[in-house]
Amino acid sequence: MLSRVADCLYWIGRYIERVENTARLLEVNLQLMLDFDSNDEGAETNWQAVLQTTLCVKSFYEEHQTANNQTVTDFLTFNRQNHTSIISSIHAARENARMIRDQITEEMWEAINELYHFVRESNAEAVWHDDVYTFFRRIKGYVYRMQGLTHSTYVRKEGYKFMQIGQFLERADQTTRILDLKTYLPLPETQSVGGVADGAGWVAVLKSSSALDAYLHVYPADVQGSQVAEFLILSPDFPRSLRFCLRQIDQHLRALSGTGEGFFSNPVEKAVGRLRAEVAYTTREEIDEEGLHHFVDRVQRTLNEINNEIFETYFALPAFDLEKEIARFLPETRPMQSQSQTQGTQSQKQG
């Protein structure tokens, strides 16, 4: 498979997953905000926590005075200048898909394309006027369709693996970030850790990860911070837990190179295998001891490194110097007057 194509597939996996996560995060928090009075200052700080999670507090306040239901929805959904917005992610996924249309199935392409046209024809005002929850449900529906169609129509070759790696890396990143949401959620002064508002915050974290039902199944009627963290980080079976995601990434990576379990053949496999093992041998107590925020922060930095290693290992085309290339074939020619241009691979930034 062409390196460029693999790169596109990886990013389609990431962007599509990101769309769904952002849609869910917004949907859940819009619900959560209903518990606040409209003039409650808590609403603003809660939205700030959401913006913090999506890493765009600064850019938000460059455009908006206050964070409320509508401004945040608009910024995280429809704002094209915001690279982490839903529409930006959809656009990026579609551009990647368009570039390699010949490499994915028609069903996958149409699902992305329809999502693109659906969002493109919408705007925050109309969505709020009609039914904001239906809107986010539909977005999620398109994403599930895309992921489901990938599952049922795409051959299980390299391309599929790159998409899965992208999807699970993004998911690992999102799950840990949502977990971190609680770090930024302020507690009302009259409340304390373990109080009612604290519990509501952790429920929101679980819902934001589509994990509430799965969690309650394990810990009936007992929503507690460190238990939630344990579930979202260490659960071996929950498909959005960090541990689960790392296992997927590790397996798909090794399948690409044909490397056995417990071995590595390149730096990215080494980095993923190491993190996978570390998480597998971590306990709730150790996370509590280190501090959740600190733990999450460390994991996120490693995930970023893994992203970069994947790029170096599989996608990076060697730096290309046109003049040098020409000189390789025509050693007698003198360089043109203009400076030689270098063309690195286009870097597709992660949000």
Binding site: M1, L2, R4, R101, E106, N113, E325, I326, R328, Q343
Partner: protein
């Protein structure tokens, strides 16, 4: 649908011979359309437009920031060509592409046609797309033009003419195939009874051609499509064809030349490439040989090509036949190489490079269509009868300044086909036809082509960049049922 106010005016109409009597091969469709309410028709049209958008069947519009992709407007009323007429076109086109190939081989080797004085040497020497680098290069199987899109028109007399040949990277075939899909969906009950020859095997035929030219008769070559990238207006088509053939689509940066062989960069290292269907013009193909600043091409690819280690379709240098001055000489090529009279005539053409013709052109600018020798897409044209005085004077200066670069033709009234529009209902709109000729072990044409239609009333410009649309082209498997003969006016004396 309401055809009662339909008028063929003074034009040749593909559906009606005159009055309200349809030609024999259109009768069934006409009856079917007549029984369709306007609402039903509109609903079908809307569904097709929506499907095109959903599937992303679009072309890219340059210099247009938002909505850079547009649907190529598609009109549901097909253009129908009866079997015997198609047989005639097919014969004429195959004759033409055969002569063009012989010409190119001669041009890049012995140049007998120049030595014998059939074509003046200065015409070739000044041809913008003649590539001296190709002199003496042996191309696989001796084929230069593997894919040719010749534009045909029909004049007021009903006769067919070749308007131009596109022997470099003709585009539009994906629309031919997608239009057929769309029309089948729109008329699922009518279509199966219409007796239309299928076009869906184009991708297979193209792949056969590409495999046929593999270097050293390699039985299992790696074939790829080379695209300028997603920002090219025809990118949709490049992907479409790659999918149809199940081959990789590559950009220049995916390829690298080592030891005069071409490789692509994959996740598992370099992989050899044998045949390239390139949709990139010569100019951008190899910065070592052509444009030094081109980032789209592959440094060194010409060396690999010249060494016979990679095959390119079309060959480098075929643009020499796209030159509208060279077009003038195609009937002579046919006579010279095949000793035959041309089956399909050219449009009468005057060369501004020839003193006598030039005088005629300059004296009759208000009656002629003047074209630049190497512009495509409807650019660089003067439509004399519709031009303002200023435009005419501007062209006069251009012609005097660079006569080699201009040819002139009488204004041809392109034939019309009923076409639907919201504002005017069913009305006649001008069309042309681009069939796609493939040349592998022998020339073949999938029965059909891209019918382009000028959607603006009165306009004869069919290019998509100039407000054109397209129609499905139906080539009938056999001429219409005998029972229906007699009442019909003969469609055309061929």
């Amino acid at each position: 649908m309401d055809f009662t106010r339909y008028s063929v005016d003074q034009f040749f109409d593909e559906m009606f011979a005159g009055g309200d009597e349809p030609r024999a091969h259109y009768r069934r469709l006409f009856e079917a359309l007549k029984n369709l309410s306007e609402e039903e028709y509109q609903a079908k049209q809307k569904a097709v437009d929506h499907a095109f958008l959903r599937q992303g069947i679009t072309f890219t519009v340059y210099h247009d920031q938002e909505g850079t992709e547009r649907i190529f407007p598609f009109d549901l009323i097909p253009r129908i060509i009866p079997a015997r007429e198609w047989a005639y076109l097919e014969e004429g086109l195959i004759q033409r592409v055969t002569a063009l190939n012989l010409f190119l081989e001669d041009l890049y080797h012995d140049q007998k046609i120049l030595k014998d004085g059939i074509i003046p040497r200065h015409v070739v020497d000044s041809a913008e797309h003649f590539r001296p680098e190709m002199k003496g290069v042996k191309v696989p199987q001796g084929i230069y033009v593997h894919i040719c899109g010749s534009d045909l028109i029909r004049g007021a007399d009903g006769g067919w003419y070749v308007l131009e040949d596109n022997a470099r990277c003709p585009s539009g075939v994906s629309y031919m195939l997608e239009n057929r899909q769309a029309i089948k969906r729109a008329f699922p009950r009518f279509f199966p009874r219409a007796g239309v020859a299928p076009v869906a095997n184009y991708g297979d035929e193209l792949l056969k051609v590409l495999r046929h030219i593999a270097p050293n008769n390699n039985p299992d070559p790696t074939v790829v499509i080379l695209t300028p990238g997603p920002y090219n207006s025809a990118y949709f088509e490049h992907c479409f064809l790659a999918r149809q053939m199940g081959i990789e689509i590559v950009e220049g940066r995916d390829l690298i030349v080592q030891d005069d062989r071409v490789y692509m960069r994959t996740t598992r290292g370099l992989q050899r490439v044998h045949v390239i269907y390139r949709r990139l013009n010569d100019d951008f193909l190899d910065p070592c040989v052509f444009r030094r600043d081109s980032m789209l091409g592959v440094p060194g690819i010409m060396r690999a090509y010249q060494a016979g280690n990679v095959a390119l379709a079309n060959a480098v240098g075929t643009g020499a036949c796209d030159d509208k001055v060279m077009y003038y000489y195609v009937p002579r090529m046919i006579k010279y190489y095949l000793d035959q009279d041309p089956i399909l005539p050219n449009v009468e053409t005057y060369l501004a490079g020839e003193a006598k013709d030039r005088q005629y052109i300059l004296d009759n600018l208000d009656k002629l269509v003047v074209k630049s020798a190497n512009e495509a897409g409807g650019y660089g044209m003067l439509m004399g009868p519709k031009a303002t005085k200023e435009e005419i004077e501007e062209f006069r200066l251009k012609i005097i300044d660079n006569p080699r670069n201009f040819v002139a033709q009488p204004m041809i009234s392109l034939s019309r086909v009923p076409t639907w529009s919201k504002e005017h209902g069913v009305a006649g709109r001008h069309v042309d036809l681009r069939p796609f000729i493939l040349y592998g072990d022998k020339p073949r044409i999938v029965p059909g082509g891209l019918t382009r239609v000028a959607l603006r009333p009165g306009s004869m410009v069919v290019n998509s960049s100039q407000g054109g649309g397209s129609k499905d082209t139906w080539v009938l498997r056999e001429d219409d049922a005998p029972a229906e003969e007699g009442s019909a006016a003969p469609s055309q004396s061929i």
